[in-house]
Symmetry: C2
Subunit: 350 residues, 2 copies
């Protein structure tokens, strides 16, 4: 099963969205802050992926004041040690003390129980069947700072909402879907300002909605799943990498150069991605759909293609047209590690 | 365009889900209650449909203590007069005074602006292009009691959540999709205890998500929309009424009698409805999907068919199996007018 795989922000390719429950682990001993009840101060967020850990330090106003990047060491011990070091490095880089942290948030693929702060089945991180009490282990190493653990797509959605809101100065509620075009296809949802996890952590799992009864079989056991048309894996199958660059880059280059086959494949991919946007809006009516994941590194070329496809879809349908789908789509911010920022935001709320 | 038509609970067939904004109209003069800030007392909810108005009176504990049913009189004047009389009748029937009402909620098809309390394009009610300030007009006729107006599918979802929660004594948040198998197909969403309207009132508009590229054209201008397979209209097209009973009743009777063609049509319909359930869960991961609308009057026979179809879909997919879709589905309560109850609940929150 490849659900939620590919994920939003990192390059691991594992089931990553199922999580179970609400809470945090860790209680700082001797901290006056937790008793005073005033706004959380600095928080750190980490986005733990298959190859790298990205970290962000938020100041008390929610501004990103430091970032960090480390290679991931697989397995429980390596993960914990790497995460601890990432936290220490990012606070040290801006002269903040560990004791000034109000909380730490982690975004991680795999089956996350956010109530208990545990993760399992993060296969690309070397975490298998046993539940890893990541929040507890990390908190212990960091002097008791509260640690929350969350699914990687959920932190990406929260991070995108945070960054967009600050950039746009919007006074409305944060409201968006983070559509992760990674190896697979899945999304994270922030609705009316609240992270929507769903009762079994499966909210946003749109990659496995069948959209073509005659479509190819999916690894999930169904046929014609949306992920088979709109994902990095789907692109790689339709346009295998030939020149050492990522498949999406080669495809878009070939299309730009006028290769007719590439144009067809590109248009089909853009149409499928547009269908994912349409599906998200017709179900949740989110204000924005933010394109993220590896494929979104194509940048404005991808955005243009998806918006064109949305306008084409709306042409025959005044109803679709009235929803202004193309105007809702945007690219995930790239000037900050958005999932790490989201993890830090959740760390603030803990 | 037939979007949101058929709706959940009444028999009108009009675009009914687009609404714009949060607010209420009406301020009781001289009421001590609004100043004290204590819990709202009695509230009335009305479900205004193309042929009938259903009303419910909730006591301060949220119990349904009275109901009423009137024929709808079309056009602005008739609607307002009918609604006023329905409110007067239901409070009188249990000896409650109009002055004891903390609020009134209306559920109505058409394009509802719940911030302003207006409705337009409720064509089956004789309300056309001009915005009808329904909340204001009704409030004025009812001595200034606050009136809220809401889309009919949204009140159905809120009502179903209220009734299920009270019946089950669940301590968790209300969390469900009300899937209206009316003339058309659409849904209302209550997520984490909150009504989800969406930024343009289009949340739950799943009937117009295409699920088959080779499917029939839809009135919305797209092709292969889910509504073309899972709705009263789709059933009527596949199995026209021959003996004066509603098409779904005749179809299920014929299938029960062993008619092979009927069995095929019934199975296909159940599978399409199961697909709607799957789509709702894979996007929003709601705890329950409640089957409502005219077709749901089939009762347990429909429930069984949809649950069987869900189990069949899950057979090939451990992933789907893990989501326990069949267990999430239930029938809308029939012992109370669920949409009217939902309207009354929103009246309480006003």
């Amino acid at each position: 099963m490849d659900s939620k795989s590919g994920s939003g922000t990192s390059d691991q390719g594992e089931p990553s969205k199922r999580e179970v429950g609400m809470g945090k682990v860790g209680k700082r001993k001797g901290s006056a802050r937790s008793e005073t009840g005033r706004e959380p101060a600095y928080t750190v967020g980490l986005d733990i992926g298959g190859t790298k850990i990205l970290g962000a330090l938020l100041d008390p106003e929610g501004e990103v004041v430091g970032t960090v990047r480390r290679s991931t060491v697989h397995g429980a011990d390596g993960l914990v040690a790497g995460a601890v070091q990432a936290v220490r490095d990012v606070v040290a880089s801006v002269g903040v003390d560990l004791a000034d942290l109000a909380g730490v948030g982690l975004g991680i693929p795999g089956i996350v129980d956010h109530r208990c702060g545990t993760v399992k089945h993060a296969v690309n991180l070397g975490v298998h069947d046993d539940e890893l009490p990541l929040a507890e282990l990390l908190s212990a190493e960091l002097g008791g700072v509260p640690v929350v653990v969350e699914n990687d797509l959920n932190v990406a959605a929260v991070g995108a909402a945070h960054v967009l809101e600050r950039a746009g100065g919007e006074r409305d509620h944060e409201d968006l879907a983070f559509l992760a075009l990674g190896t697979g296809l899945a999304s994270g949802l922030v609705l009316d300002g609240q992270l929507r996890r769903g009762v079994s952590g499966a909210a946003g799992e749109i990659g496995h909605i069948p959209v073509d009864p005659l479509g190819p079989e999916c690894t999930c056991g169904q046929r014609g799943c949306l992920e088979r048309f709109a994902s990095g894996k789907a692109l790689e199958a339709a346009w295998p990498s030939r020149h050492g660059k990522p498949s999406p880059v080669e495809l878009f280059e070939a299309a730009r150069a006028g290769d007719q086959e590439a144009i067809v494949v590109k248009d089909r991919f853009a149409d499928a991605t547009a269908s994912a946007v349409r599906l998200l809006v017709l179900t949740t009516d989110v204000r924005h759909v933010v394109l993220g994941g590896g494929v979104a590194q194509l940048g404005t070329e991808l955005l243009d293609a998806v918006q064109d496809a949305l306008r084409k879809q709306a042409k025959a349908s005044p109803f679709l047209g009235s929803l202004k789908l193309a105007e809702r789509v945007r690219l995930a911010p790239t000037h900050v590690p958005v999932a790490a920022v989201g993890a830090a935001v959740l760390g603030r709320r803990s």
